[in-house]
Amino acid sequence: MQLDKVQAEIRPRSPWESVDLGCALTRRYLLDIWKMWALLIWPMWALLAYVLSDWPILIIFIVWWLKPIYDRLPLYILSRAMFDARPTAKQVLLAWPKLVIKRLPFSLLMARFSPGRSLNLPVSELEGLKGTDYRHRVALLERNGGEGASMTTFAGLFLEFIVTGALAAGIMFMLPPTVANELWISIGQLFSEADGIPAEIAWFIVVIQMCAITLLEPFYVGSGFALYLNSRTLTEGWDVELAFRRMSERIHGVVNKSKSSIISLIALGFFLMAGWSTNLSAEEEAYPQAKQAVEQVMEGEEFTIHTRKVRVSQESTSNNADSHDLSWLSGFPNLGWLAKLVEIFIWFLVICVVSWIVYLVSKQLGLLANISSGPNKLERKAVASSVMGMDIRPESMSNDPASEALQAWRDGNTHLALSLLYRGSLMQFVTHRNLPVQSGDTERDCLLKVKSQPELVEREVSYFESLTQMWILEAYAQQQTDSEMVRRLCEAWPFAAVEGGRK
């Protein structure tokens, strides 16, 4: 066994923690294990089922009893994989016949009912101990983690029960209802009639039990193996050994490195004094000469340290009232004009920011509404071409939306009629009355803006208000609008027909 090749972190663990490590270890090599399991154990079970096909209950019992045989397979794979010697399928196949028959009576009779079976398994299988040696060894190893091993066995039983139940429940879910019903009926007969378990139930349990063992047994073995390793770690100080080995490796590496750096320094010395040919074979001789060479090089022009003293006038520092030593500044030309410039620039920035904020606030409060309603070119540019997804450009509309709406109303399409009227009136407000509508405004916003325009004609405003109410009811509330009202709206169109519209 090569401890430095171990694939898991070796440190002293509590028994339960080692069980967890075993689970993690098994999980890593689970596919290997299951592959070989399917190849080696399932045929065995198939043979067993064939021979004992008349007594399925007996199969359940024997499959359970023979667990130590199956356990050898995951243990073989895990114990080798753990030390970086993951066995190939061929190796496992070759080893298997020997594994099966080795000390069969012992493992099936004496060791079968030991509560710490998982921990003891490696002692008999991997260490190959027998008799008194085996008992001493087991007693020693069980001092660290023996109770953990027996608790794992109980937990393993519990888990096997759980997995069996879960598999049974899962299969019951998947079965067609008629078959499941039959199964339920025969399960019910289990308790009502005393003539034994019906065969189909027994076979069902056989299959589920085999699946459960296949799923769980590798983890149980892995847990036991990890418990065994942990126990040996504690009783033999594996973690200390590994740490010492790593330390030795490190120290060895450091010593080697320092040696090699001395040698490379010497080599450098050679290089610098090319042409200097003396006998420098022995290290003792080389060292002082190399030192000499280094000194010679250090005396060269390139390595001379130049110093320069700078005198600083006392005046400028005396001006400086605060404790910071700013005397170095005196070396610079007077930069007062630059400071003034920067100051002016900063004041300019501040004024810009403040006025911008004032503008934003006043806009928010509507104080600028009067200014923007004037023939302001900038504002005119920003006029929205569509509101709420509706196109309100004059080009997109007919010359006389009122008559078109009336036509739509006559056709029974009140929705179209109202939308034509609404779009038309909005367009009128936006293009001819300079209403500052934006594309994100809602109907309510538009109405508020219309109302807040003092120079709009009273008739238009009240018309728009009733139109908006009708439109909201029609478009959003999906209510049946009063047809007569729509007709009246069409006829009461307050805007004059506009030039520039689409004919």
Binding site: K5, V6, Q7, A8, E9, P12, R13, S14, W16, E17, V19, D20, L21, C23, A24, L25, R27, R28, D84, N144, M151, T152, F154, A155, G156, F158, L159, F161, I162, V163, T164, G165, A166, L167, A168, A169, G170, M172, F173, F219, S223, L234, T235, E236, G237, D239, V240, E241, A243, F244, R245, R246, M247, S248, R250, I251, H252, V254, V255
Partner: protein
Amino acid sequence: MTDSPPRIDTLQSIELAEGVEIRLRIAGPYVRSFAYAIDLMIQLGIFIGLAMITSVVGIALGQNVGQGVLLLGMFILHWFYQILFEAGKKGASPGKRAMGLRVVDQSGIPISFGQSFLRNMLRGVDALPGFYGIGLFSCFASKKFQRLGDMAANTLVIYERPFTQRVSALPPALEAIAPTMPLEREEQAAILDFKNRAGQWSEARQLELSDHASELTKSEGREGLAKLLAIAKWLNDRK
């Protein structure tokens, strides 16, 4: 070895904001199912006690009242037993506490009530298709031994107490010797560990182990062992 996968371990290391690294020791399916079995027993015990009390109450106040109280108690027991215990100060149900476990957030801090609520409400999913099939599968298959409720609530089940080893130290050396070169933290710990645990190893094993440190002691056999113990004393005194 360099291109092989990292060594198997069951730790979750977390780097705290201060740059300190802590390690959570995550608990696996075996110990968790054991804890769950204990919880199940406790719940069963409470249920039996409740049933006896309500049958007495039922005689006094009528059978329907007793049955109603029992059903209400069952509901609370089923849904809030785990939630309340895990959201509490100990962060663990009685079964988990018995096994030395507790539930924490992925970052190692205690879980909130919301997390406790979520991870325990999802027991309904983990319990599918009966007998905790999905939860067990997820616990075995996930790297941090989490069931689905744990993943949803971002929680871990960890061991609360660190594992303490049996100490059986060798008699201390008479003189302390400083190591000839600076040692790393793990190496210092290993030397002290050696001194504290060597009493339970045979003498041959002690010599074998101290020989592994011969690069440090520059000597082998008994001399090396004595020197190693002297270094251990130096390390111990300096602390």
